[in-house]
Subunit: 321 residues, 2 copies
C-alpha cells in the first residue's frame, strides 16, 4: 500500500503559467493543495528557471522539494527544454509514457512530449499541452474511449481534435486567440489606449453571425468592419472588441465545421474543454452554427492528466524506495 504522492504540476502555455501543488491519495484521488500563476513562455522576463523558482516558492516553503511535472509550450522550440513530438494517431498510453526527464540544477523536471499530425497533403500540425488534457479527458470520461468525438480546446492556439476509439487520430490548430490578441493590441481597428473593455454578447453574436453567414468571405475582408461599425453604427470600443472576437471565433467554428474531415463525422455533440468567457464564446458560436456542445472544465482534465502521469512516473520510484 502506497502513501500519498505530492507533486507540482505546471501547465505552462504561451501566454500563461498555471502552477498546481497536488496530492494523489492512495485511492487515486487528486487533492489540490495550492495553486499559483505566472507568465507564459512568450511573456517571461529573465530565465525560465528563475520564473519557476519564484512561482513555486510558496509550495516549496510549505511542502518541501517536490517532483515537478510540466506540459505546454514550455517544451517547444520557443520554450525551455524541447521534447519530441509523438506522431498521430496516438493512444492515451503512448501520451502517458511520453514523459521526458530533464535536470535543472539539482531538480528533476518531468516534461510531456507534444503531438504531431501530418495531413495527407504533407502539412504538419502540432500541439503541446492539449495532449495532457486529452489524456485527462479520457481518464475522467472513459466513455469517450469509444466512437468518434470532436474535441475543441480554445486558447491562444485553439485545437480541434478527433478522438477515434481512444486514438488521437487528427487535429487542426487555429491561431484565433493570438490573432485576437495582436489585433486588439496593435491594429488600428480599435482605439489604442488600453481601454477597460467589458464583454458584450450582442455584438459578439453579430460578429459570429457575419462570419457564419458568409463562410466564403475571408476575414481579411470581414475584419475591416470592426472599424466601420465604430464609425457608422455607434459601436463603442467594448462593442467593437466583442464583435472582433465574434468574427474570429465565428470564422474558426464555421471553417472547422466545413472541413471535409469534420463533415464526414457522425452527428454528435462537440466536447468543449475550457473555462470562463472563452468557453462560453465558443459554445455560443457552436450554437449559432446549430451544433451542440458538451462543456468540460479545463482545470479538471488538466489535473486528471497530471494525476495519471504522476502516478505512472512516480509510483515505480516510490515502490523501489
Amino acid at each position: 500500500m502506497h502513501s500519498a504522492l505530492r507533486f507540482i504540476a505546471l501547465d505552462w502555455g504561451s501566454t500563461r503559467l498555471r502552477a498546481y501543488c497536488c496530492e494523489l491519495t492512495p485511492q487515486q484521488e487528486l487533492v489540490l493543495l495550492a495553486q499559483a500563476s505566472g507568465p507564459g513562455v512568450v511573456k517571461i522576463v529573465g530565465t525560465f528557471s528563475d520564473v519557476l523558482q519564484q512561482v513555486i516558492a510558496p509550495f516549496v516553503k510549505q511542502y518541501g522539494e517536490l517532483p515537478i511535472f510540466m506540459a505546454g509550450q514550455i517544451s517547444s522550440s520557443i520554450g525551455w527544454f524541447e521534447t519530441p513530438y509523438l506522431n498521430c494517431p496516438v493512444t492515451p498510453q503512448a501520451i502517458l509514457h511520453s514523459v521526458c526527464e530533464r535536470i535543472s540544477g539539482q531538480q528533476s523536471l518531468y516534461i510531456m512530449s507534444g503531438l504531431r499530425y501530418q495531413n495527407p497533403s504533407g502539412d504538419n500540425d502540432t500541439m503541446r499541452g492539449e495532449e495532457l488534457q486529452l489524456l485527462g479527458l479520457l481518464r475522467r470520461y472513459p466513455q469517450y474511449l469509444h466512437g468518434q468525438h470532436l474535441v475543441c480546446l480554445p486558447g491562444t492556439h485553439c485545437k480541434w481534435v478527433l478522438l477515434d476509439n481512444g486514438y488521437v487520430s487528427w487535429f487542426k490548430s487555429a491561431i484565433t486567440g493570438e490573432l485576437f490578441d495582436v489585433l486588439l493590441q496593435h491594429s488600428i481597428l480599435l482605439p489604442k489606449p488600453a481601454t477597460l473593455y467589458t464583454d458584450d454578447w450582442a455584438t459578439f453574436t453579430a460578429g459570429c453571425q457575419r462570419a457564419l453567414t458568409f463562410p466564403n468571405e475571408s476575414i481579411v475582408h470581414a475584419l475591416f468592419s470592426v472599424r466601420t461599425k465604430q464609425l457608422f453604427d455607434a459601436y463603442t470600443a467594448s462593442n467593437a472588441r466583442s464583435y472582433l472576437s465574434g468574427l474570429l471565433i465565428g470564422a474558426d467554428v464555421g471553417s472547422i465545421l466545413h472541413d471535409t474531415k469534420v463533415e464526414s463525422l457522425p452527428t454528435g455533440s462537440i466536447i468543449l474543454i475550457g473555462s470562463g468567457a472563452l468557453q462560453q464564446a465558443y459554445a455560443t458560436a457552436l450554437t449559432q452554427a446549430n451544433q451542440q456542445s458538451v462543456l468540460i472544465t479545463e482545470q479538471e482534465v488538466v489535473l486528471a492528466g497530471f494525476a495519471a502521469v504522476a502516478n505512472q512516473t512516480l509510483l515505480p520510484l516510490s515502490c523501489q524506495a
Copy 2:
C-alpha cells in the same frame, strides 16, 4: 494664359507620408520638382503640424510658401482634420469637388474627402486616399470611364473597387497589409528578433497556392502552418515571412474573386495600382488564380489626381489674381 502653378501634394496614409513638390505647366503637364517622405498617421511622434513643417521644409526653402493638398488617412477620425465621406456611387467630378479647405496657423490646407460604400446588408466600407488614385486613373486613362473595371489598390488596407461607366459604384477593403505587419511583428508565428528578411518568391507562391486551393479554410487555421513549416519543412525566417505574405494575399485575392459582386462582372483584366514588391505579389497571386492584371504605377495616378485637384482648386484663384 496661365503661368505655372506650384503646389505641395501629401499622400498621407496610415503607415507612410509621401510628399511631393509639384509644378503644373500651362499645358497641364505635371513636373515633379522634389519629393520627401515621413511617418504615417499611426506612426507620428509629436503633432501633425510639426511633422508637416519638417517634411516640407526643403520645398519651402527652395520655392517659398506653396498651397498644400492632402489625401489619405490624415483626414480620418484618427488623423488631423476630419473631412466628410461621399456616398457611392460617386463620379470623378464629385471627387474632384470634394476638397475641403482647413487652416493650420496661417496656412491653407486643401484636403480630400473620403468615400463610403454601404452594401445591401447595411455594412459600411470606407476609403481615404484611394479616391484620389481613382480620380488620377480616370484622368490618365480615360478609356476606363467606359464599361466595368475592377481595380485593386494594395496597401495597409487593400481596396478592391468597381468602376462602372466612370462611377465608383462598389468597393471592399481588406486589412491584408496591416494583418501581415502585426503578425510579423507581434505573433509567435515568426522569430522575434527583427531579422533582416529577404523576399522569397517560391514560398510566397506556396502560401498563395494553399490559400487559393482551399478557399473554404479560414486563415485562422491556415496561419498555424507558418510555424510548422519552420519546425518540419526547414523554412528559414525569410521563407516563412514570404509564405505568410502568400497566405494572406492569396486569401485576399481568392475571397474577392469569389465575391458575388465580382463573380457577376464580365471577364477582363484587373487594374492593379501599386509599386515594387507588393504590386508584384498581388500580380503573382492574381496570375495563380488565373486572373490577368494590368499594372499601373501608384505614383503616376497619385500625381495625376493631385494635378486635377490643384488645377480645379487653384486656377480660379490665380484667375482672380
